[in-house]
Subunit: 290 residues, 2 copies
């Protein structure tokens, strides 16, 4: 049974869909529409939200490992993680049946539902969301057990991220906020369906196309660590489109082009602003069915 | 005569078109293509560029008033402005014939050429750029004399800003960089034409449609200063499209809509990320011909 639901906005302080949702008529719409669920709303990183920046000292969405939560906090975000864990966790013995954490990306990923496991609940959820919101993309990040991730959403029995883009950091786009709202409505509607029917829903729903995270690809750097290329214009904005051997990937500043020489894959988080300092150009994924 | 040209990138450290141009084959292409001009290249704010942020303490592009330049610097950017002014100015007695400062916007403004005066040179330039790059937008900001602006480009005898978008802060898009490069090529080509023909070029070029900056419009705030609305989806990305009385402008978080009740106008810098902290929703402009 899904009873207690936590919806979090502002985990990254410059991703506005979550904070707007928490401050708008969308919040009361959710509350009145899903009266059968006990829904809490929380603001992830109020200090970063106030400054309209991703984080003030460290990324809050990387502070929720069991180790970090048990260690004396060395920065604001580590401390904030412990507060959130105390109030809505704890991760070691979760009280929330599901935690939904709302994010934005600057990449052209569309409304993406990130699930951390492919068990019956999440397969059913993925099918339901895809069926009711065809523009939705399902991304499975199950390269390790859910609790081994340092994400905020792992403090619940189940955890999801709603990752909607493209949206510039610090900017609120009405259409993007609307997509986040719509995806959350479908997630909550599925929770009620799951409560009513359990695993029987699996067979009632159409198998959904999805993606499974593979790895990250970095920008080419010079020997001294300076970036020497940009995303090729033919790859830019082609998140979740097939990339095959020979397709252009990087346009080098000296005029050369790097082409893809790996297995066919589905790039995403292409040119994501938040990953620039990590030199991450994009992530790759395999096509799967759920 | 235009002889000495200064091209500046990285005045804002998270606007990558300028810095990419300075680090790429575009730079040598410019040098070899316009051998008749003496072209210098300068990096505006190296400290902010390194951190991939707009500025470290204060906006560098607001530090070039004659007063600021003559006052003891109170922050890194004020000091950097004085260095730039000493090396490539001084504003009080300019040595550069023209300063071209490269910027990016997150708004859907396209490749925009911002000129600070509508004299014969700038009218000719606007006509030439528009004729050779039909996607270009000409924006005149001549609400005060050029030297009264605090912009970096005012340290030259003439100063321009190349403002290209949409591009996320801190991200390099190949197509946007290419547009900045192309616009600079046209500006430099016009400089050579001006050297050869002077004001006679005016009559040889087609009159160009342009915009003149009018004012800025702020987001609606609550009594306690909290933002209560976002840009209406029908206005978002409609930079330089006609906005008329009755057209929706703001979608309020409570579900209400504000419509435009002023004279017909042309919004731009719509939902610009860099102006969020100033609560600026967009600027308006009048349609003119140059």
């Amino acid at each position: 049974m899904i009873n207690k639901v936590l919806i979090v906005g502002g985990t990254h302080g410059n991703e506005t869909s979550g904070t707007t949702l928490l401050h708008s008529a969308y919040k009361s719409a959710i509350n009145s529409q899903f009266g059968g669920l006990t829904i809490n709303f929380a603001m992830g990183n109020p200090r970063a939200c106030k400054q309209n920046i991703r984080y003030t000292e460290e990324d809050l969405n990387r502070q929720f490992s069991l180790t970090s939560l048990a260690t004396e906090a060395q920065c604001y975000e580590a401390l904030r993680a412990q507060e959130i864990n105390q109030q809505y966790g704890p991760k070691a013995a979760p009280t929330q049946d599901i935690v939904i954490d709302i994010h934005n990306t600057t990449s052209n990923m569309g409304p993406t539902l990130i699930v951390l496991q492919a068990d019956e609940f999440h397969i059913g959820l993925s099918r339901y969301v895809k069926q009711h919101m065809p523009s939705a993309v399902i991304l499975v990040e199950d390269e390790k057990p859910p609790q081994d991730h340092p994400y905020l959403c792992t403090i619940g029995k189940r955890g999801l991220m709603v990752e909607v883009g493209p949206q510039e950091q610090g900017v609120c786009r009405a259409t993007i906020t609307q997509q986040a709202f719509e995806m959350i409505q479908h997630i909550l509607a599925f929770c009620e369906l799951w409560n009513n029917k359990g695993r029987a829903v699996l067979t009632e729903l159409t198998v959904a196309p999805a993606f499974r995270l593979d790895k990250v690809v970095e920008y080419p750097l010079s020997d001294s660590g300076e970036r020497v290329a940009m995303i090729h214009p033919e790859l830019q904005d082609r998140d979740f489109h097939l990339l095959q051997a020979g397709d252009p990937v990087f346009a080098h500043f000296d005029g050369n082009v790097t082409t893809w020489d790996g297995e066919p894959t589905y790039p995403h988080f292409i040119n994501e602003a938040a990953y620039q300092h990590l030199q991450i150009a994009f992530a790759t994924a395999d096509s799967i069915s759920l």
